[in-house]
């Protein structure tokens, strides 16, 4: 897949090297690999396992356990929509339903994921777009946000 296999290998090695002195480094390594590539490829799993002297299954098992870690490249934007109780009480179910329906469009440029509380409960319904938390959301606002990001006019 990647244009520069050797470059990838070197990069993953240097990430591993930077973290290996830490106690329990694997999750931090996976985070950094994903930050750079958007996801954790099969090859990356193999390289990390080799470097840390773990089995592939051990590394892969960690990747699959955590909702944040992905095996496929995501869409350009990431929208987390809170589905939890405090946001439900303020109208969050409708915000989620709108976002989920829009994300079903294959041309949608936004990855929509459920999240169970963003700690923004006093100003719910809450969403988080590319690490930016937004409050007091409505179906209209979320629809405009997703449409804006999908139309390439995102900020």
């Amino acid at each position: 897949m990647s244009k520069d296999e050797t470059g990838d290998a070197l990069e993953i090695e240097s990430i591993c090297a930077r973290h290996e002195q830490r106690e329990g480094p694997l999750l931090a390594i996976l985070h950094e690999v994903q930050e750079g590539h958007g996801y954790i490829s099969n090859e990356a799993v193999g390289r990390i396992a080799h470097y840390l002297n773990l089995t592939r299954a051990e590394v892969y098992g960690v990747v699959t356990f955590y909702p944040d870690l992905r095996e496929e490249p995501p869409r350009p934007h990431m929208l987390k929509v809170c589905r939890a109780e405090a946001c439900q009480a303020a109208g969050g179910r409708e915000v989620w339903a709108t976002a989920e329906a829009m994300a079903a469009d294959p041309d949608c440029q936004v990855e929509v994921e459920p999240v169970y509380c963003l700690g923004n409960c006093p100003c719910g319904p809450a969403v988080q777009m590319d690490e930016r938390t937004l409050g007091r959301f409505t179906p209209e606002k979320v629809s405009a946000l997703i449409a804006g990001a999908s139309g390439g006019s995102s900020s």
């Binding site: 830490r22 106690e23 329990g24 480094p25 694997l26 999750l27 931090a28 996976l30 985070h31 051990e58 098992g61 960690v62 356990f65 955590y66 909702p67 944040d68 870690l69 987390k80 939890a84 109780e85 405090a86 946001c87 439900q88 009480a89 303020a90 999240v115 169970y116 509380c117 963003l118 700690g119 923004n120 409960c121 006093p122 100003c123 719910g124 809450a126 988080q128 690490e131 938390t133 937004l134 409050g135 007091r136």
Partner: protein, 510 residues
């Protein structure tokens, strides 16, 4: 003119950055100080200006309000329609007693000079002059109990780690704050992160640990930035490192980021995750205090627990133990949200009633409709009906009324809530976030959703209600941890207090 505007992520989520920009744009002579939030979220974005040693608040302010507000800010005009007066007096009038969040909303987070000028490091300096055992004793005397949910006495946990012989020992801060309806940890980390670092350092001195970890959920990128800023400031100023405040004793802290799994808030799962593994629950015993991180003696405490420790040391255990009710000492950081007119963080001595919190502090529902159900203590907490509003907010008293204080989250629903849907969601959440180790939690929670669907579809209703109850019993009895063991409580409370909602649906809803 000095004006304070919060940089707290919730205030920012509804426009605090735009307000700060509008201030400097309209009057370049204004110095804007970014603080945490006071937690008066219905007034956010709130602007404060200093007058004669008082902070006069204005809120909720939009960027568009600024031109019209400038004169009032300059003169400290309390007649302006957005003025809420002296903010400290407002907090006091609500019965707040800020021990843990004393500086949150006051100081610029992570700024060393501001921190020290407002009482920061006083607790640590006292601790450095004490024997480790005396520090543990002070925490015991304070009556401090874990604020992460279980309410375990903190001093006893520290004693176990203090007495353990194996080394090295660790201090782990649980900053996973996964419970819906809770945001106190985030507010402290974003508003006064140095207090958490100070509390962890004191814990390190007490039990003989030199390394601390903060396990922070990935959903909190702003808290992460603030913690990193505070860590740098603490190291630069010698609070962390080889010689804590020149004492010759070492302590340092590292932040680790979680990866979206709710179950990693449970302490043994958290430790697995910190070690870089899948977040599977461990059997207890051994307790983390004996064999925790990397099988070494480990203190695992919540952010609010650790953030309260500096005040206990600085002002004496009695300041804490003199407040509260029966076995619940000190203050509870009540996080009021959902459908409520005045959502926010209220730090109040244990013992006020649930009804007082919702009606008097919260002003009832934001929708103007009557409240009907309140979920206290996160997604595993029972739904309380209005008939239980006289229950005091204290560990044992709330438990006797069938509820759980947990981390202090209070989520209000008005009379349009569908309690069968809430019960179903509790089980859906349980199944999504299960670590998968035990069958009742992993499978039972999925079956339970189907059973609720059959009940509301009027498919063999009575038999399915009996089956749901039985399933809940099995989960309570047969789960290894409280995730599967408590998820039935919101379900059973919905069934017991709101049976009408489990009647067959007349409309084609759900």
């Amino acid at each position: 003119m000095n004006v304070c505007v919060p940089c707290d992520s919730t205030a920012v989520s509804i426009g605090a950055d735009e307000v700060a920009d509008a201030l400097t744009r309209n009057d370049p002579a204004i110095t804007v100080k970014r603080t945490g939030s006071r937690g008066l979220y219905w007034l956010e974005p709130m602007v404060e200006v200093e007058r004669d040693g008082q902070r006069i608040g204005y809120g909720p302010v939009t960027a568009g309000d600024i031109p019209g507000l400038l004169d009032a800010l300059r003169s400290g005009d309390t007649g302006h329609p957005l003025c809420v007066g002296d903010v400290e007096a407002l907090l006091e009038s609500q019965g707040q007693r800020r021990l843990t969040l004393r500086r949150t909303g006051v100081v610029a987070p992570g700024e060393w000079a501001d921190y020290v000028a407002n009482g920061g490091t006083e607790g640590l300096r006292k601790a450095l002059d004490m024997e480790p055992q005396s520090i543990v004793d002070a925490v015991k005397e304070s009556g401090l109990r874990g604020r992460g949910g279980a309410g375990f006495p903190t001093g006893i946990k520290w004693q176990t780690v203090h007495d353990a012989e194996a080394t090295p020992k660790y201090i782990v801060c649980n900053a996973d704050e996964g419970d819906s309806g809770t945001f106190a940890d985030r507010m402290l980390m974003e508003g006064d992160p140095l207090a958490l670092l100070e509390g962890m350092t004191i814990a390190g001195l007490a039990v003989g640990a030199e390394q601390g970890y903060i396990y922070l959920r990935s959903e909190y990128p702003d808290a992460h930035r603030m913690l990193e800023r505070a860590l740098e400031s603490a190291r630069t100023n010698g609070m962390l490192g080889d010689s804590v405040l020149g004492s010759g004793r070492a302590f340092d802290i590292e932040v680790r980021i979680g990866a979206g799994a709710y179950i990693c808030g449970e302490e043994t799962s958290l430790l697995e995750s910190l070690e870089g593994k899948r977040g599977m629950i461990r059997f207890k015993p051994p307790l983390p205090a004996i064999q925790g991180f990397l099988s070494r003696p480990t203190v695992v405490n919540n952010v609010i627990t650790l953030g309260t420790v500096p005040t206990i040391l600085a002002e004496g255990a009695e300041v804490h133990s003199s407040l509260g009710m029966n076995k619940s000492r000190g203050t509870l950081t009540i996080q009021l949200c959902g459908n409520v007119a005045r959502p926010g963080l209220y730090e109040i001595p244990f013992g006020v009633t649930l009804g007082h919190v919702i009606n008097d502090l919260g002003g009832g529902c934001a929708s103007g409709r009557p409240p009907r159900a309140v979920q206290v203590g996160g997604p595993l907490g029972a739904y309380m009906p209005v008939e239980r509003f006289d229950t005091p907010m204290a560990y044992e008293e709330f438990g006797e009324a069938g509820g759980m204080i947990g981390h202090g989250g209070v989520v209000v629903f008005d009379d349009t809530v569908d309690m069968a849907a809430q019960a179903r969601f509790a089980l859906e959440f349980c199944s999504i976030e299960s670590c998968g180790k035990c069958t009742p939690c992993r499978i039972g929670s999925v079956r339970g959703q189907e059973v609720i669907d059959r009940i509301t579809d009027d498919d063999d209703r009575e038999a399915n209600i009996a089956l749901l109850r039985e399933l809940c019993e099995t989960m309570i009895e047969g789960s290894l941890c409280a995730h599967g063991g408590m998820a039935p409580y919101p379900v059973l409370s919905a069934l017991n207090h709101f049976p009408d909602d489990f009647e067959p649906r007349t409309t084609a809803a759900v």
